[in-house]
């Protein structure tokens, strides 16, 4: 049986989360068998044939002018049509903004279970077992499916894309979707870009977060400068967001975003339970705090005890020197 992957595109660009999902599909196919088939909803082909190197053996393209932007009902119809055609054992989505919205619709439409925001998948006795964080990562649940196909959404940055394969060029097959956008009662009118060129927190390789120890919003320029030197995205603790220093989009933690970058730098963040929950799946954690007893040091791989106003400028200079070298 096939493994179906929802190939997310935005503005005609296939997003990196699609390659992550295809990579996991290739690994699952090694145990479950079956071809890896992608399904993409778009206004026109966003270069899907290139996904052969990411592991796809066929891509179904549901093309419709309205699919230029995310059209929930239309996209759900497209994925459901692909399921009907391919009859997969597993359907993978990215747990991106789009995937989190789309996958539950498809699940309800098909009447099957969805394991959301998974961090690992395994095949045990021939069935798919998904591992997913609960309580914002304070615990992990392993779930199996009592319905088929098994729908799974994958947390961004947790799954490696398949190594580039010489898999050739997969056929891009049109998928007929009888969708009338005039009947849609919800339409995306506009996409406002707030952080041009910066990776979203959930997809960032490096994050620099600031906490209340910075004493005021005006000192976040230190965090911004360090982030710029590292090519990082800026995050914040709940205390800082609740105080109105930073927008909620920046919040990392149980009532903000759960992140898994390769490097997380926590500056002047003491490390409340709810913050730790949101970032402890980062690969490498650095804490800079003047209080040696701060709980953040318990999860940090590398800690530096010191005043942020002294340490961060020195760190910025050191990173810049490294960049120049």
């Amino acid at each position: 049986m096939a493994i179906l992957v929802f190939v997310e595109q935005r503005n005609g660009q296939v997003r990196s989360v699609a390659r992550e999902a295809l990579g996991e599909a290739v690994r699952l196919a090694a145990s479950l068998g079956g071809p890896v088939v992608g399904v993409c909803a778009a206004a026109s082909d966003p270069g899907l044939a290139r996904l052969g190197e990411a592991g796809a053996s066929e891509i179904l393209l549901a093309a419709h002018p309205a699919f230029h932007r995310y059209e929930p009902a239309g996209y759900a119809q497209a994925v459901a049509a692909a399921v009907e055609r391919v009859k997969p054992s597993v359907v993978l989505f990215p747990a991106s903004s789009m995937g989190r919205d789309l996958a539950p619709r498809v699940a309800a439409r098909l009447g099957v279970g969805l394991a959301a925001d998974c961090t690992a998948l395994a095949v045990e006795d021939g069935r798919v077992v998904a591992t997913r964080p609960v309580y914002a990562g304070k615990a992990f649940q392993r779930v199996a499916f009592t319905t088929a196909p098994a729908l799974v959404s994958l947390r961004p940055k947790m799954f490696a894309p398949a190594p580039a394969q010489n898999g050739g060029t997969p056929p891009v097959t049109p998928l007929a979707v009888d969708y009338d956008s005039a009947t849609a009662r919800s339409t995306v009118r506009e996409l406002k870009t707030t952080s041009a060129g910066k990776a979203d927190l959930t997809e960032a390789e490096i994050i620099v977060s600031g906490g209340r120890g910075l004493q005021g919003p005006e000192h976040f320029d230190l965090i911004e400068s360090l982030a710029e030197a590292l090519g990082a995205t800026v995050g914040a603790s709940r205390a800082v967001v609740d105080a109105g220093w930073r927008p909620h989009e920046d919040q990392v933690g149980q009532t903000g975003k759960t992140v898994s970058p390769k490097l997380y730098v926590a500056v002047a963040i003491s490390g409340a339970v709810q913050h730790l929950a949101g970032m402890s799946s980062s690969r490498c954690i650095v804490a800079i705090n003047k209080d040696p007893e701060a709980p953040i040091f318990k999860v940090a791989d590398f800690g530096l005890v010191g005043d942020a106003f002294e340490v961060v400028p020195a760190l910025i200079e050191a990173v810049k020197a490294l960049n120049r070298a």
């Binding site: 919205d101 707030t194 009532t255």
Partner: protein, 253 residues
């Protein structure tokens, strides 16, 4: 205008998770139960819409075990007009089960005339973000999740939803399902008057039988402890060492 706010009772975010003896669920010992934080934004927005219209009804509905009425009373104290408790034995549920049970209730008069069906964007316990879009799909309604800003004019609503690196501006025609994000508004606190009034507001208990599950929880476990880290030094003098370990040992810069 009738609005329904679907709320969930969850463990407080300060909870230190302990696994129960069954190895699959949270040990409820010592847990403080609260209204899911994101649901507060949904309820607040519904109350504001009712208040600015000067008319209308806000019904809160929650599915769960015998402890749920405490949280429903809390929502009544904040200003909801009446509450419905879809009572289960309190055992685990999966999102599709919950969505189907809610949708069945929401299809029943008088709730079927609701123009706005509110949810929080996610529950802070299972973090599934599934029930709102599922209910929308089951009812044939449009749905906007992660709502961070809203303008309502008659039967049209203009919403902003947060996406990676930006915001989508979405226009919907009511009736619609909306899932609120933090930042949509600043939720109020319950007043003493509200708490007193809540005791007299109607809270209807409806025992239900859940549809069959679609997921089976095999286990719940704490994450593996991170390997102990180390302090590289004190103050700005330790910066070169920090940069060295990040570059040479962790290989992350």
């Amino acid at each position: 205008m009738l609005q329904v706010v679907c709320i969930k009772q969850v463990a407080d975010t300060e909870t230190r998770v302990k696994v129960a003896a069954d190895g699959r669920t949270l040990d409820p010992g010592g847990v403080t139960w609260i209204l899911n934080p994101y649901d507060e934004f949904a309820l607040e927005q519904a109350l504001r819409i009712r208040e600015s219209a000067g008319a209308g009804e806000v019904v809160v509905i929650s599915l769960g075990g015998p402890g749920v009425p405490t949280t429903l009373r809390n929502a009544l104290a904040l200003g909801a007009d009446r509450a419905i408790h879809l009572k289960t034995d309190g055992g685990p549920t999966d999102p599709l089960q919950v969505a189907r049970a809610l949708a069945a209730e929401l299809k029943t008069p008088p709730l079927d005339s609701a123009r706005l069906l509110w949810f929080g964007k996610q529950a802070v316990d299972d973090g599934a973000c599934q029930v709102a879009p599922m209910v929308a799909e089951l009812l044939g309604h449009p749905c906007v999740t992660v709502v961070a800003a809203m303008e309502l004019e008659g039967e049209q609503a203009l919403l902003e939803r947060e996406v990676e690196g930006g915001r989508e501006v979405v226009e919907v025609t009511l009736p619609a399902v909306l899932a609120a994000d933090k930042g949509l508004n600043e939720p109020r606190y319950a007043s003493l008057k509200g708490i007193m009034a809540a005791k007299k507001k109607p809270l209807e208990e409806k025992p239900i039988t859940l549809p069959a599950p679609s997921l089976e929880v095999l286990s719940l476990a704490l994450p593996p402890a991170r390997a102990p880290g180390r302090i590289v030094g004190q103050g700005a003098a330790a910066v070169p060492e920090l940069v060295r370990v990040l570059r040479e040992e962790a290989k992350v810069i």
